[in-house]
């Protein structure tokens, strides 16, 4: 039993009131932290600022160089042989090549990636098979693209796949937009799968059950409820995948032939003559035009790199927009 006369609580030591202006709000300060925590905090700030500075430096530098060296006619004239910078043309073939591999690569990766993600999240049985599938996707994500490219040459040089590239007297060249796009789709695939899975997994279980509970089949639920709900994440995966495809150089170098211009196959029907032939992309052009490459025209390299950068930044902005719009649409509680 407590004594009937309440004893006042012992006086707590109060922090000395700060001199000068009275504070209007009490806040937690790092002054009470241990030395290690304070050093850690300072380190985080320093590194964060450093990486911001590096990113800004790259963008600003490329922007300045790009504005200086990019001429609009470079976007419309293909590369040509010549002795001076004025004679060697622009990089229109490379620009169109980039667009072609991006469209072809993502239109392979997107349906396959969505299908894999749906199977993993909504079916995923037998469990060992699901685990193997997961590991395979992770493995593909980890393989350097140059290794994928090497593997691609083996596949696409086989006689059976001769119709996808140029063949001469039974010897299959194995390098074409088809070959490059097929292997590039593998680069984008893990990103599409991961993002789509994340989207599907974020849908609460009771939402699926609400659809089953009004007599809908699993297929109808996936098609009409789950995939539309996961659309922002699918779009994010697609955009990230596109960024990777656009930025890849190794596969282009090994599997696209890395010519300076389109090299359509004679006698084939448009557009298959171009798609079966060799070509180039902006990344390859930048490599060739850099001081290391055969062209060695750094000014054009900067111009092409600037165009590349604009494309990637545009894609990132698009991903951001999709996400922000999705957040506005509202969601369920779990």
């Amino acid at each position: 039993m407590a004594p009937s006369v309440a004893t006042p609580p012992p006086e707590r030591p109060q922090a000395a009131p700060p001199q000068g202006k009275a504070p209007t709000k009490a806040v937690e300060g790092s002054s009470t932290w241990s030395m290690l925590d304070r050093i850690g905090l300072a380190f985080c700030w320093a590194l964060g600022l450093l990486f911001c500075a590096i990113a800004v430096a790259i963008v600003v530098y490329l922007f300045l160089q790009g504005v200086k060296f990019l001429k609009l006619d470079q976007l419309t004239t293909p590369a040509a042989t010549g002795f001076s910078e004025t004679e060697t043309g622009g990089f229109s073939d490379a620009l169109i090549g980039t667009i072609i591999v991006a469209v072809m690569g993502i239109s392979l990766a997107l349906p396959v990636g969505i299908a894999i993600a749906v199977w993993l999240v909504e079916y995923g049985r037998p469990a060992p098979l699901a685990r193997v599938t997961e590991l395979t996707i992770e493995a593909i994500a980890g393989i350097p693209s140059i290794v994928l490219a090497l593997f691609g040459t083996v596949i696409f040089s086989s006689t059976a796949l001769g119709f996808l590239s140029r063949s001469n007297e039974g010897v299959v060249f194995g390098r074409s937009f088809f070959a490059a796009a097929a292997m590039l789709s593998l680069v984008a695939l893990p990103l599409v799968v991961a993002s789509t899975r994340q989207g599907l997994e974020s849908i609460p279980r009771h939402v699926r059950e609400a659809s089953y509970a009004v007599g809908k089949t699993k297929a109808a639920t996936i098609r009409r409820i789950l995939l539309p709900t996961a659309r922002p994440q699918v779009a994010t995966g697609m955009i990230l995948g596109l960024g990777r495809i656009i930025g890849d150089t190794a596969i282009i170098l090994v599997l696209l032939g890395a010519t300076q211009n389109f090299a359509p196959v004679e006698g084939a029907v448009f557009p298959f003559d171009y798609l079966r032939g060799a070509g180039t992309t902006l990344t390859n052009f930048v490599y060739e035009a850099s001081p290391t490459g055969n062209l060695n025209q750094p000014q054009k390299a900067y111009a092409a790199a600037f165009v590349l950068l604009l494309m990637v930044l545009g894609l990132n902005a698009a991903a951001d927009l999709v996400h922000r719009r999705a957040r506005k649409a509202g969601t369920w509680s779990h």
């Binding site: 009771h206 089953y212 509970a213 089949t217 369920w332 779990h334």
Partner: protein, 307 residues
Amino acid sequence: MEPLSAPPPIRRLDPQDPIPAREVVLGVPTNGNGAAGAPAAGGFTAAKRSIAAPQFSIRRMEVDKVSIHYGAKEAVKGVSLPIRQGEVLALIGPSGCGKTTLLRSLNRLTELTAAARLTGSIRLDDVDIRLIEPTLLRRRVTMVFQQPNPFPMSVFDNIAYVLREQGSRRTKKKVLAPQVHSALQRAGLFEEVKDNLDHPALKLSGGQQQRLCIARALAAEPEVLLLDEPCSALDPQSTAVIEDLIVKLRDDVAVVIVTHNLQQAYRIADHVAFMYLGDLVEYNSATRLFNAPAQERTREYVSGAFG
């Protein structure tokens, strides 16, 4: 009570039915508050029973010695009880007592959890539900969940989704409009949303979302409506609206509601089943179960001794 427009027809009302179509509900006629002469068992004299005695009651579902196992764990142990149209049946009991599992087994949703195994039988109009194709069964026995979960589409499309063939989008809006409006009216939501049928459903308030979910469940023209703690995520005002709605619905569909809220069970249920650790401890009329429980366990639970 405003007249409900276009109530769904009561199907398969067979006068030759071996089960008497009119079951006398044991219990005390309700007259506003707890039954007269109730012993001081629960603190339910404060809660008002504002519903009238059922007009009729027809046995629609029959739960017969049902046990449900999750692996080695027995979640429901040999439960038998009838589910009647014209009445509201409430399942009460502490968390983990198997009431939600039992509810979900009534339209075979438990089968989606691979480990669940059911013995005994559940019959819908004297047909074992295991013999009814699941998607057909789930249109006859629809369900509303604890969290409001409208689909991320417009109010109209939420209902239209139920009315259309599986994955199809082909049926024109104009064709579906009368049915959509009727479902919304039966759920008491039409007046509030009639000008905004194209607005996203997830922008409605929580109570409106839950009524939309009820409208969605009613759009399938079910015979049994299952409600899994439909008000636990809602504020008291929305809860009152939904309770009124549930009582209105009992003549058209057999209503089964799982609730943690004893007062709610007392307010709106005609029969109450109290479950504890998987056992059905007591099945009785609401007035009896709360005011004169037959079992000691029930008395302890409704008086707040545990739970």
